[in-house]
């Protein structure tokens, strides 16, 4: 499923195609079921992203984790997601619509910590900010995501080293992270081979979100024995 119009569908959704291109694409859609289906799926991604509740976390994430595992949180300023909410654009103007969905998912589940690292308002939706290469959004998204995951994992490791986290629990968490990482690797490979697949884009985004969610939940459950 890939033709010359595939990468223009998101522009079509956003209404940014030139009038002549729009007419040509609509004519193409009338004859191409694959593109119609892809268009439907992209519209669903947009709808799902719009429906996401990027609620602020019940409590500021990082200070709670830091307190529970005994590391300083002073270097990490927590900002309000609510303050950012009104500035969030929910239009998607890049072929990799799932990039925005992934970021929103991560923000929704990862909370304030990731808010520290999110780009300026609207940046994720600006044309040219994301590369046009088929899996460019993965690379772009992953840099911030990986940084967040690495720091959370480091925090968990410090919790283990300090004895606040039971070694068996850390082992289970590590095994689970390996399981998720394996799934992420598989999804990335599949997406590289079929970058136009809305399912694979969404699946990768969901799996990445799950890794962050696991770290967040595990950190929240980690006992603070005082």
């Amino acid at each position: 499923m890939s033709d010359t119009w595939t990468d223009r569908l998101s522009e079509y959704i956003d209404g940014t195609l030139a009038k002549t291109e729009r007419g040509a694409l609509e004519a193409h859609l009338a004859d191409c079921e694959a593109c119609r289906t892809t268009l439907d799926e992209l519209r669903r991604v947009v709808a799902r992203a719009r429906a996401l509740d990027d609620r602020p976390p019940a409590s500021d994430l990082w200070p709670a984790i830091a307190e529970q595992i005994g590391v300083s949180s002073g270097a990490h300023r927590v900002v309000s997601l609510a303050a950012h909410r009104t500035r969030r654009r929910v239009t998607f103007t890049v072929p990799q619509l799932a990039a925005a969905a992934a970021l929103l998912l991560l923000l929704g589940s990862g909370g304030a910590y990731l808010a520290l690292h999110r780009p300026p308002a609207g940046a994720i939706a600006q044309r040219g900010d994301l590369t046009v290469s088929p899996v460019g959004w993965v690379e772009k998204t992953s840099s911030r995501y990986d940084a967040a995951v690495a720091e959370l994992q480091s925090a968990l490791e410090q919790g283990r080293a300090s004895g606040r986290l039971d070694s068996a629990t850390v082992r289970v968490l590590t095994q689970s992270l390996v399981t998720i990482d394996s799934a992420i690797v598989q999804a990335r490979r599949a997406l590289a081979a079929d970058p136009g697949s809305a399912y694979l884009n969404q699946h990768l985004a969901d799996t990445m979100r799950r890794k962050l969610e696991l770290l967040r939940r595990a950190s929240a459950l980690a006992p603070a024995r005082t």
């Binding site: 689970s176 799934a183 599949a190 694979l200 699946h203 799950r210 459950l221 980690a222 006992p223």
Partner: protein, 291 residues
Amino acid sequence: MLLNIAAVITLAVAQQTDTTVPVRPGMRLDVDNFGGEIVVKAWNQNSVRVQATHSSRDRIDVQVGGSTVSIRAESRRGLAQMVEYQISAPTWMDLNLHGVSTDIDLDGVQGAVTAETVNGEVKCRGGSGQVSLKSVQGAVMLQNAKGHIDVYSVSEGLTLENVSGDISAETVSGDISLEGIESASVEVSTVSGDVTYEGSIKDGAHYHFATHNGDVTVGIPDRTNVTVSVATFNGDFDSSFPVSVTNTTKHRFNFTLGSGSGRLELETFNGDIRLRRPGNLHDKHHDQEDN
């Protein structure tokens, strides 16, 4: 011989606490435990009875506040380690239970439930309103509950039976089984495990079942009105009844049953997706029937 000595020593230092406090409707029970278990059985009395087995060095602190009964163990030497709680509480009472290396077992409760543990199983028979059950290293089982249901585990499976309301069930490594479900909103996902669903598929409702490594099997009642989206990367689709596939892409296709009012999303990266009639979910090979 060593075991016998250890048992004798344990018995020698074990202590029983048995106390009962009156409660008023609307009060909540909070229990915080490190190791051992929390067992709560509902009864029809407006009082909470706490029976605890613990070290003689520990003391069970039961505090009755304006809106809560709070139970925790305190130790004269450091932190209390192992406490086995057997608690009787009114059926209406909301429960807020937390443990570390603790099994949690609840029976007959009718109020809201929050039960979280790091290393241990969570079993709950009953519950209404907000029901949230979570464990890192332990299976989670919920029966006969209704309301907003949220169940989560990291390394074990989830089982829900005879549950109604909005449902969210998520684990990383483990199967997820749902039976006897009445719901208009079900969100289920695991990374490594099978997903099985048998319950209502309502008009206008939304159901999402996803796994990375595992099969997804769903029971579809007769005369169901739902639009089904099937996505798999390495796997097959198999239905015990005829379907007319539309909107096919490389990894996803859709079809409609009846009016297509509801929405059912089935996804597995490595695994098969099976549709069966209720009662035949575990049939590996289907016999085609008329839709």
